[in-house]
């Protein structure tokens, strides 16, 4: 593996928890099978979001923990940082979740995630007539454009 940049890996999920794409730049340690790994990641996002809603001090309409919410209802988080990595998340009303895992010193990636969604995912995947919506994709152009773009992120 080449010398690590600041990117670690990226996941794209749809609403049904299907991992549409998994992209890895630098990940020296992998202990789980890809399926388990992706499922845990989706579970982390899902649970963390229900906790953030429950703990929201500005809203009193919280319902009970774990009760299904309508998409876009309640608050959500866009990033968290640990001492070893930072996870940034973009969630669209259509249920697409783009997760970017980077080194912990990375700045705000909300714009970057938006760019990846609009200019890379929509352009190369959604508009690809051979892509079956809701299924895992493998797309050379997408990978090339993504690699190119993340190089510009500071």
């Amino acid at each position: 593996m080449a010398a690590p940049g600041r990117m670690r890996c990226m996941y794209i999920f749809n609403r049904n928890g299907v991992c549409l794409h998994y992209h890895v730049w630098y990940r020296p340690l992998t202990t789980l099978s890809p399926q388990q790994d992706q499922k845990l990641m989706f579970g982390l996002l899902f649970s963390l979001r229900s906790f953030t809603v429950k703990m929201d001090p500005t809203s009193n309409n919280k319902g009970h923990l774990g009760v299904p919410q309508l998409p876009g209802q309640g608050c959500s988080f866009h990033a968290f940082t640990t001492n070893t990595y930072k996870l940034s998340l973009l969630e669209t009303p259509s249920g697409i979740k783009i997760v970017l895992v980077t080194d912990p010193g990375m700045g705000d990636l909300r714009e970057a995630l938006r760019y990846i969604y609009s200019n890379i995912y929509v352009e190369y995947v959604i508009k690809n007539p051979l892509y079956v919506p809701g299924e895992h994709f493998r797309c050379e152009l997408f990978n090339a454009a993504l690699d190119q773009y993340v190089k510009t992120l500071k």
């Binding site: 609403r15 049904n16 928890g17 499922k39 989706f42 579970g43 899902f46 299904p68 919410q69 309508l70 998409p71 876009g72 209802q73 669209t92 009303p93 259509s94 249920g95 697409i96 760019y115 969604y117 609009s118 200019n119 995912y121 929509v122 352009e123 190369y124 959604i126 508009k127 690809n128 007539p129 919506p133």
Partner: protein, 192 residues
């Protein structure tokens, strides 16, 4: 690469440099291409009701992709209120993909049913329905598009034409009925 569907509107926010370029398609080419598709379906299925169904299904498949194109270009970040969503479809969605705007009207008392009224419909330029096709909803593809797009933002809907200029009405009116808003649930079973 392009879906080739209706991307002929002028740029929605020309000042916004971050917006991806919206490809434009010549309006006549678009209208005639759509006409050719409907014509071919009529030849293939020989049954007007079946063609209506096919158009709706085609629209649905367009809609489930178009939603992401729409969201990425419009910067809409949430679609939770049906009322608000209907307005966005009429004012922003139609503008972006067909170059016209619609009016939202005739809400029912519960706020779950409304009409989109289209005074100008670029799909029907040069179109007249022959005697044999009086039951054809020529623009049924649009109903499918809206149904598909709304389904992706968790709104199950029923969409149909109630007034159609090609059937002698004074305008195009599409009826939009919200059946259910589907909540986000944890998608995996525990024992998986």
């Amino acid at each position: 690469m392009s879906t080739g569907f209706g991307l002929m509107a002028p740029l929605l926010r020309p000042s916004d440099a971050s917006a991806p370029n919206v490809e434009k398609v010549n309006a006549e080419l678009f209208t005639l291409t759509y006409g050719a598709i409907v014509r071919q379906l009529l030849t293939d299925f020989e049954d007007v009701d079946e063609v209506n169904k096919q158009l709706d299904t085609m629209g649905y498949h367009i809609g489930i992709r178009l939603i992401d194109d729409f969201l990425s270009k419009s910067n809409v970040t949430r679609c939770t209120e049906f009322k608000e969503t209907a307005e966005v479809i009429a004012k922003v969605g139609f503008k972006m993909f067909l170059g016209v705007t619609a009016t939202v009207a005739n809400w029912d008392a519960d706020g779950t049913e409304c009409s989109l009224i289209l005074d100008d419909n670029p799909l029907v330029d040069y179109v007249e329905l022959p005697e044999t096709c009086q039951g054809l909803y020529y623009c049924n593809v649009l109903c499918g598009v809206i149904r598909g797009a709304l389904e992706m933002v968790s709104m199950r809907t029923e969409v149909k034409w109630v007034r159609d200029v090609l059937h002698g009405d004074d305008t195009f009116e599409m009826r939009l009925k919200l059946l259910k808003q589907v909540p986000e649930e944890y998608p995996y079973k525990d024992d998986e």
